[in-house]
């Protein structure tokens, strides 16, 4: 139970503060389980509503992120059981392995996401504008490729390469921090 001395607006404030702090972690956690961003957005959206509805049951002082992950995982499993008729999705066994590991490494993954900021700054102007074009809200790689006058395939390859570079950059940043 949340602290009974909290009135309604303080509860809102407490929830918002916690949720905003951990939203990126929850989204990453869900995307790991379902791979596809559109699915992940849907799941996170539903999970956030469930979290707010069940916020009474959250014990203040305990780990909000772990509590949120649990709710998000249930939503993800629900979602996957529905879509698995139409396409192949990861088995529950793999979902459990990935979820356990992602939770174990949650702090590390937070650090990695923060390190991305520095690495994005190092992208060339071209790469950066491609990344922005591909990831922009409502945009699609297909639409971006068309605008850029290039084949989709080529854009995907460039995007994969840039992500590979960013991943290496993040590793490098973390290595630097660890050796400090």
């Amino acid at each position: 139970m949340t602290d009974p001395s909290l009135d309604d607006s303080s509860r809102h404030e407490a929830f918002v503060a916690l949720y905003v702090r951990h939203e990126a972690a929850v989204f990453s956690f869900v995307l790991t389980m379902v791979s596809q961003s559109a699915d992940a957005e849907d799941i996170v959206q539903r999970a956030s509503i469930t979290m707010w509805r069940c916020f009474d049951q959250f014990q203040p002082g305990t780990n909000f992120r772990a509590w949120a992950f649990q709710i998000a995982k249930n939503e993800a499993l629900n979602h996957l059981s529905k879509v698995k008729r139409d396409r192949h999705v990861f088995s529950e066994k793999l979902i459990n392995l990935l979820a356990d590991r992602a939770e174990e490494r949650a702090d590390d993954l937070d650090t990695r996401r923060r390190a991305l900021d520095l690495c994005v700054e190092k992208l060339t102007t071209d790469d950066r504008s491609m990344v922005e074009g591909c990831y922009a809200e409502g945009s699609s790689i297909r639409a971006f490729a068309k605008r850029a006058g290039e084949s989709e395939n080529k854009i995907y390859k460039r995007l994969n390469r840039v992500r590979g570079g960013l991943l290496k950059c993040i590793e490098f940043q973390l290595g630097l921090e660890a050796s400090r």
Partner: protein
């Protein structure tokens, strides 16, 4: 399996391009190899972070920066409202609500979209011009406004061919139409029927086998059976009035009357009525003939009815909530007035549950949210204010005998079981959380600015 192969499978998967075989192959590797799992988690984490960084940040700002001119409520309430809108991810970004420049006199213009994509995965955007030709929608809802005033809402998957300002051909899918006097005669053709509007609102659906259903919400239409060539003279017209449905199939010799069923149109119709979307336990219904809100007892849903549209009240209207934030009970004399001279459309949200099962007094929560296409200018829930506005906005000849205001949690009260109503920072979304209690009606009247 080389690391390049693994990387390829991960990229395909995160890009949403993986075939079932590729997903299965990736699954086998990840099940067997702990290092591969860690690498995959890193890739997914990076991808998630890039999505949030490049896609959502802008949208978050546009909601959070929109500070209302007169905010009387605690900032945290406002922040929650803003966050709820974000959390729930109202499908329509602020950018989509801003019509972009339109070109010189196209046949029709896209005036509203809700998650609407073409089969090529390209989104429909507001302000886009539609000229004669085929409009294919894969999913979502898109509203087309014709220069003559006719307005069509298409629900994907559907194929609609625009012929001229007064004629479209629906090849498949669902369309609802609102036709003002200026566009009387507007025609929707299908492979089996021709629907000619006589000043009205109606829905047409075409199934895979060509069977056409026509459902009239308001006014009347003429339906003709089409032969291989659509010629109005070959068949007699069938007049269909509001509250009636008819069906034409490929081999039917005549138009068949069927029972009135607006259900298939419950997604597309709200958009024509100014509702962008409802989520959770909110259900939009078309009033139809002999309408009485009392006919809509529903234990699972808050039901939404459009009331009076495009109306400028002469007398002052008192309202409970004007600014974004959470509704708190106030005294009658503290109520705000609706800005005078404003043209508004009203909607009634109602939770009218009935005693059910072994525990007729059991209380459950019913939650949902509704987003309107235009800004909400006033929300009314206090019984006295509902009564006062009834004559102006309500359905004629409908009277309610019970108290029907919602009960927000008084400050400092910790008991469970109160209602909550939040007007979100976008001023278009209401987040509703009501305790259902049989014998007691909950009603909320929402006044939305008209164009």
């Amino acid at each position: 399996m080389s690391t390049d192969d693994l990387q390829h499978l991960i990229d395909q998967s995160l890009n949403g391009l993986a075939t079932d075989e590729q997903t299965a192959a990736l699954e086998q590797i990840l099940l067997a190899d702990e290092q591969a799992r860690d690498h995959y988690i890193n890739c997914a984490n990076l991808h998630s972070s890039m999505i949030r960084r490049f896609a959502v940040a802008e949208q978050a700002h546009s909601y959070l920066d929109e500070s209302p001119p007169r905010r009387r409520l605690a900032p945290q309430v406002f922040a929650l409202a803003a966050t709820i809108v974000l959390l729930i991810g109202v499908a329509v970004g602020i950018r989509q609500l801003m019509p972009s420049s339109t070109q010189a006199s196209p046949l029709a213009t896209i005036s509203q979209t809700v998650g609407a994509y073409r089969p090529s995965d390209e989104p429909f955007t507001i302000g886009e011009s539609i000229d004669a030709g085929l409009v294919s929608i894969d999913r979502g809802l898109v509203q087309l406004d014709f220069a003559n005033g006719a307005s069509l809402t298409l629900e994907g998957p559907a194929k609609l061919e625009v012929k001229d300002p007064y004629q479209v051909i629906l090849h498949s899918g669902i369309v609802t139409a609102t036709i003002p006097e200026s566009a009387i005669g507007f025609t929707v053709d299908t492979s089996t029927a021709r629907v000619v509007d006589l000043g009205t609102a109606f829905g047409v659906s075409v199934a895979a086998d060509g069977a056409t259903d026509v459902c009239v919400f308001d006014g009347e239409v003429e339906v003709l059976l089409s032969t291989s060539e659509v010629t109005a003279s070959t068949t007699t017209a069938h007049l269909v009035k509001e509250g009636q449905s008819v069906r034409a199939t490929i081999d039917s010799p005549e138009i068949a009357e069927v029972s009135y069923n607006p259900r298939p149109f419950e997604n597309a119709w709200p958009l024509s009525s100014g509702v962008l979307q409802t989520t959770g336990n909110l259900r939009f219904v078309s009033p139809g003939p002999d309408f009485h809100p009392g006919n809509f007892q529903d234990n699972d849903n808050i039901v939404v009815f459009p009331e009076r549209s495009n109306f400028t009240p002469d007398e002052p209207i008192l309202v409970d909530l004007v600014d974004p934030g959470q509704y708190q009970r106030t005294h009658y004399k503290e109520k705000r007035k609706l800005a005078p001279g404003l043209k508004v459309t009203s909607y009634l949200l109602q939770l009218d549950s009935y005693p059910a099962g072994k525990n007729p007094n059991i209380q459950r929560r019913v939650q949902g949210q509704i987003t309107f296409a235009r800004p909400i200018v006033g929300v009314i829930t206090m019984t006295r204010l509902l009564q006062e506005s009834e004559d102006i906005f309500g359905f004629p000849d409908v009277q309610y005998h019970t108290a029907r205001e919602i009960e927000p949690r008084p400050a400092g009260d910790k008991r469970p079981g109160f209602d909550s109503l939040v007007l979100a920072a976008d001023r278009r979304t209401l987040v509703v959380d009501l305790m259902e209690s049989p014998l007691h009606l909950d009603q909320i009247r929402v006044l939305v600015e008209s164009e």
